[in-house]
Symmetry: D2
Subunit: 348 residues, 4 copies
Amino acid sequence: MTEAIRKNFASDNIAPVCPEVMRALDRVNHGSAAAYGEDRTTAALSALAREVFEHDVWVFPVATGTAANSLALSAATDPFGAVVCDQSAHIANDEGGAPEFFMHGAKLVPLPSADGRMALADLDRALTENGGHGVHTSPIQTLSLTQSTEWGTVYTLEQLGALTARAREAGLATHLDGARLGNAIAALGCRPADVSWRAGFDMISFGGTKNGAMAAEAVVIFREDLARNFLRRVKRSGHLWSKQRYLSAQIHALLENDLWLRHAAHANTMAQRLAHGLRRLPVAALPFEVQGNEVFVVLPERAVAELETQGYEFYRWTNPPGLDGVLIRLVTCWATESRDVDALLAAL
Amino acid sequence: MTEAIRKNFASDNIAPVCPEVMRALDRVNHGSAAAYGEDRTTAALSALAREVFEHDVWVFPVATGTAANSLALSAATDPFGAVVCDQSAHIANDEGGAPEFFMHGAKLVPLPSADGRMALADLDRALTENGGHGVHTSPIQTLSLTQSTEWGTVYTLEQLGALTARAREAGLATHLDGARLGNAIAALGCRPADVSWRAGFDMISFGGTKNGAMAAEAVVIFREDLARNFLRRVKRSGHLWSKQRYLSAQIHALLENDLWLRHAAHANTMAQRLAHGLRRLPVAALPFEVQGNEVFVVLPERAVAELETQGYEFYRWTNPPGLDGVLIRLVTCWATESRDVDALLAAL
Amino acid sequence: MTEAIRKNFASDNIAPVCPEVMRALDRVNHGSAAAYGEDRTTAALSALAREVFEHDVWVFPVATGTAANSLALSAATDPFGAVVCDQSAHIANDEGGAPEFFMHGAKLVPLPSADGRMALADLDRALTENGGHGVHTSPIQTLSLTQSTEWGTVYTLEQLGALTARAREAGLATHLDGARLGNAIAALGCRPADVSWRAGFDMISFGGTKNGAMAAEAVVIFREDLARNFLRRVKRSGHLWSKQRYLSAQIHALLENDLWLRHAAHANTMAQRLAHGLRRLPVAALPFEVQGNEVFVVLPERAVAELETQGYEFYRWTNPPGLDGVLIRLVTCWATESRDVDALLAAL
Amino acid sequence: MTEAIRKNFASDNIAPVCPEVMRALDRVNHGSAAAYGEDRTTAALSALAREVFEHDVWVFPVATGTAANSLALSAATDPFGAVVCDQSAHIANDEGGAPEFFMHGAKLVPLPSADGRMALADLDRALTENGGHGVHTSPIQTLSLTQSTEWGTVYTLEQLGALTARAREAGLATHLDGARLGNAIAALGCRPADVSWRAGFDMISFGGTKNGAMAAEAVVIFREDLARNFLRRVKRSGHLWSKQRYLSAQIHALLENDLWLRHAAHANTMAQRLAHGLRRLPVAALPFEVQGNEVFVVLPERAVAELETQGYEFYRWTNPPGLDGVLIRLVTCWATESRDVDALLAAL
């Protein structure tokens, strides 16, 4: 890794592609292959995903998380419907309106939370109120949660199960934005099945890009009815690659031998090391539990500016309601090294 | 090349990625890079595209041709508007409704033609009639042509200029689907500028995937007003890669040293060799001029079945109106070799 | 009727509101009424419609035929799907892209016909071909026919039955644009049930405005699943009236004592009288059978101009393919009188 | 008025049509008229609106407020854009997702407020934050305010002017939901121009239905560029009446001789009488200033139930954040009489 990556904590998407994924791309790069997902690599991916998730799955690889989330939501939600999510959700804030585009104008209903984890009582209230206004109010048809959350926290399996149970009781479909799912699994020490279908989810957006891939995510669906016309939606949004082997190979490489989980565990360890060091600094305050690979920290303006001067890259964040000070986000990834973290801490 | 590619004439998207593009991907695979197109590779691509097209350009790389076409059309056409195109156009037949999705329900108005080349008289009539029905008829706002066409023919520069002039006279924006633009340029022996903005086009879909890339096309825009909010559309459709360097690097590799034109010229030569051989067979009839890299040929059912038995891959095509017999399409590409063509001819 | 209406054959929507409908509006204009369709007039309409159609029905009154057609199609067709119709269909030509808007970009697939009546062989071919292209082609999910047709012809019950049977075999929903359904029923001498659900239709757009109402059409649905979320679509498109009693009262007045059928029969009689007179003129040629209330006639330019000079109003029509001469359309309605027709004939 | 209306305070849309509007409908009900807004009544409406608003105006009558609001917003906002509004806004809560449908998925950004009146500081913060996230955040392009508000309060002209000035500074278009605009004008004692274009609005939804019409609202536009393709949007959403004289006649009747303002003033007076009486009741609390024709009052459950038992109709409302007790809404209208109000007060 060059100097550049060492000081770049802006996101897990600034990293290069991991060697295993590059090798996988090389490996499939020979001869012809049937186009549009009829290739052998895609078939192998489906088989492997079935093993990893211990369940019948329908896997749809796409290049971006925005596409994965938006396609998933559109398959579960009528154009006149609505999706309930946390107010910090990526789908509500960071996807340029993509969910609304793919859902043809269905609404997002964001619920406030303290740390990115939706509270059961809030979901319950939202669903109860939603029923009372007839055709004047868009009916909530889908629950979308994020694991690990946008604030770097992780739901327990019990929390997820309780939320999806309430959602299912109200007839909702359930979706998990798993852009950083590996980090959550590593944090929970559970199996992929535990945090997905066993936790009550009908479909997940499986994140690959932030975890070492070039551009590869996958919608993993556990319900055949939701999968039925899914490929039509993929095609219709321009997300069906003609040379799909190169997309499937990336996800396959991550799933193989749990590479994705090893990457995620490493990133989490780096985040813990960073958080541990920050907590020892009297000037630093960490508003959220550090459970995945994101560290949010409040620092004096002077300290933040100094880091920037030294060439460090990170985002000054929008403070959540009620939080003062200069909040910055530091993200670790598969490529972060201990000495990078230590150097950052030393710089402070 | 393995045996597999040698007998596969199904499309130019069944080929692997060319070595130059793979090397370019390796070359950018180090260190961190700013996400979402703020990287140096993307900046280099823009500079190179400006040289290649000899014009101010705004370049938006995306992974698929469906995305490129649909995004371009949506930037030029109101949701209540319409796009006039040839009835053979990819946008009208092969993109699963993507243009209508990106354009939010705007209509396609396909005009019949003999060989995929729209006739000026037909465009003139369509535009004249379109004006007469007020709000009851969707106003045609955009002209979309395909070069080389879906039947493997190529417009002359004069034909293109006349069509775009008529379109501009009626206030239309002009778009060129250039999934196989390189093949057309190679056929015409012209410069990229001649067949794009000098021929009256406001924007083109530049095809990379069929010409050696992994998954890379680009919308190249010559008018600043059409480019203004374009990136928002890219993001909102999930087509903005976080690690965009890997997308831009592919297009850059194709543009560099005219690799795309050399690839295309080679594919054209292979198609000519194939067409030449086929014309010598008494049982074969070629309904269209072979100008790019697609050869359409009518053969007896017996001959077609024999090829299939021998492991050859190609599409049995839907006959255009008025054409009888078994029409098949044979596509050559950068990876096709002379001996592949000769073996196919021998097999017949 | 004033002079004005006597010379106006432009359409059946240029007429005023019939006395019965005006009286019905007066009758409901007292006291308060629950809003948004919870009123007693709407309940009475539903009960009456059930009698008229001899079937369970779900009735959704709206103000325009464009809304009725587009809402109906959107309830039966996925955004990624398609609707097959005749190339002369109002939904394809005259609604400013409304069907595509309400269907969120689903496509219309118009089939050519000689006289506005889709041929079974053409539908069969379209459905057969549509299945073969997988996700690249929008799947046809709905059949929409028009009765009486845009060329003033009327399908026989057998023709309708054969078309809907083929459609249902392919899993399609079936819709009838009945903007002039009364005229067809009057021509066929059948019952409303015969031309609707007994002929295989899942839903119809019932036309009121052209038949004496102020602004009132109704989507009449015979399948509960298609009706389920329909009111949400009505609301979401701004077509749910708060004071719905005034909308329902119009349709109710037309259905009561078969007023709509008497109006339609009268208009048909006037059209026959007109056609009969025209056929006696050596200069006139009637390209289509006159079965409803529309008369298309080819006249010399001189004669057409003379009528215009005398203050007659009608549309110079776009000729269907293959027809030469000045084609004009003359429409009769509930308010047309014999002497109006005779005067027009005399003027010629 | 019958007994029924006397006890119905549920909304101003439960009332019948006022005699003046019925007479206007009768008056235009003769002879033929050009369809789709080419009639003389519509021309007269445009002329009258110009006088009333003392400005060039483009007037588009439609049948519902949902249509008026959604059409207006869609003309000013790109599909990838956003509209900022108060969290109590009708467009955000009560239109079944219509704005998102008409805007093709553009987002609503609701700001919290105490009483339905957006605070300048909140708008300022929202606009400032919105600019900082590039393509990941939907750009706010339109400001939509409601006058009088959903909580029955009225903005001062200064408040409106300050909000629209800030919006214009940021390049936004400005829209006023005037479903109860007459009530606000009556409360302010100003001219229609003062509260519309002079207050910085580009377009307003002019409410007729709640003020005595049958089903008639109008989008009144003060900027030619926003009006340009507006009729196409009206048609494409099924809101263009063929017999438009009957729609225009309703608005015309309301504008003529200030009928709409007299109606509104009467309704306001009735609301004041009601509020005055309620304030004298020790058990009643009025959380909001009563300025228009809506009275929100917190009552003991016992009192509310007693009213219901006596046949009174009104809505138990969803409490705004922080308000306890049984909140009900009582709405007066043009048809409310003093004795109705007094009887209600006596019943309490």
